[in-house]
């Protein structure tokens, strides 16, 4: 059965106050039509999980500029002065994580794990408030799984069943975030019929994807 809906239909599932996973690295690999639709509908008070601040007005930077973000869980803000200022002014709450920790926390949630142990962040500000564990003479931080209400993916190609193929560095967080949200919406640039994606080439199996929308 086809999972294809219009962007407007998909928007019915996104509500104020939700936690939203958005893949991307400085805007590459981030859905465009879905972010534009969120801005148009003024869905706000969002907690956004995204790698970085992108650039002013670009990708996640568009949500920041529209004032729709309450909290960010992220690894880097420096490329977006508007986000840096919003955090400094207390308008956006920021949870700052190492990138490898962010992706493993999401992977843990999707993989049914109770958390992960990482040496990254030991002895730094990242350690604050976290359980520190010694194992075989090494020190680790216990990092807990990170889930979202909704994940909005971006794929270069996808079929009507949600099997996804990415292009170049636009893959980044997409395959991981696909596994760790209650509802997964994939924006695909090239939408094809079921069976038209070679099974050997599928990166994200369609079982993870609830809704497919055609990108612009």
């Amino acid at each position: 059965m086809s999972k294809v809906k219009t962007v407007q239909e998909a928007m019915e599932f996104i509500q104020d106050g939700m936690t939203v996973m958005l893949p991307g690295f400085l805007g590459v690999g981030t859905p465009k039509a879905l972010i534009d639709a969120i801005c148009e509908r003024r869905v706000g008070d969002l907690t956004v999980i995204y790698n970085d601040g992108a650039f002013p007005g670009v990708g996640i930077g568009k949500l920041v500029r529209c004032g729709l973000v309450r909290k960010m869980i992220s690894t880097h803000t420096g490329t977006n002065p508007e986000l840096v200022k919003a955090v400094a002014d207390g308008k956006i709450e920021m949870e700052l994580l190492p990138q490898g920790t962010l992706v493993e926390r999401i992977r843990a949630a999707g993989a049914g794990l109770g958390g992960i142990l990482t040496p990254t962040g030991v002895g730094t500000s990242v350690e604050e408030g976290k359980t520190v564990m010694e194992l075989d003479g090494n020190t680790y931080l216990l990092e807990l799984p990170l889930r979202a209400d909704i994940a909005l993916l971006y794929a270069f190609k996808g079929d009507t069943a949600g099997n996804l193929v990415y292009r170049r560095t636009a893959r980044n967080f997409n395959p991981i975030m696909a596994t760790a949200a209650d509802l997964v919406i994939a924006e695909v640039e090239n939408l094809v019929d079921i069976g038209e994606v070679e099974p050997e080439h599928v990166v994200t199996p369609g079982i993870f994807v609830d809704i497919v929308v055609k990108g612009v």
Partner: protein, 221 residues
Amino acid sequence: MTLPSSPKDLIAWRVAKELNYGEIVNLGIGTPTLVSNYISPEMNITFQSENGFVGMGALAKPGEEIPDLTNAGGQWVTLVPGAAFFDTAMSFIIIRGGHIDVTVLGALEVDERGYLANYWIPGRGGPGIGGGMDLVVGTKRVIVAMEHIRRDGEPKIVPRCSLPITAKRMVDLIVTDMAVIRPTTEGLVLREVAPGVTVDEVLAKTSACLIVPDDVGEMVA
């Protein structure tokens, strides 16, 4: 050859001499990116980019950008034959898991313990952690490439970092436009000075204690 005259290029050129045949290398944003300009193809170095690939080539020429192909600084880049793309989990399996030989990254401060600070200025915010903490924790050799002093003239090589540290790990080498310094358990050892720079000038621009052996060399081509 004549040495590069600009401070950033001099740093990049000197760092490049630290890389060995066939190594897997991650270059940070800014000055470290310039290191690739001083690596010949015969060195068979593979560059990893944390946003999801190995086999990064030169920057793309204007007008020849390839969609969805950028480096970790968001610049358009090219690929070399044998390149491979992967997701962020795989990227940090490579980084944290010890599969990278050398990482070159900038710093706001480095101290006598060999610890670096590069992600947060309290009160001003940013730039953020990104892949930096994982790279410093997981890479076999960590080289700091930075200008010797801050823009306001204050030293960046200090007794103790005043900014939040990136990791409790002693970096392996510090390369600046004035000197090459090797952190050791005894302290920071001055190894080389840049052409035209004296040991006394390095000491004057460094607030950390430096060990000065008898055989301090000069950066030479």
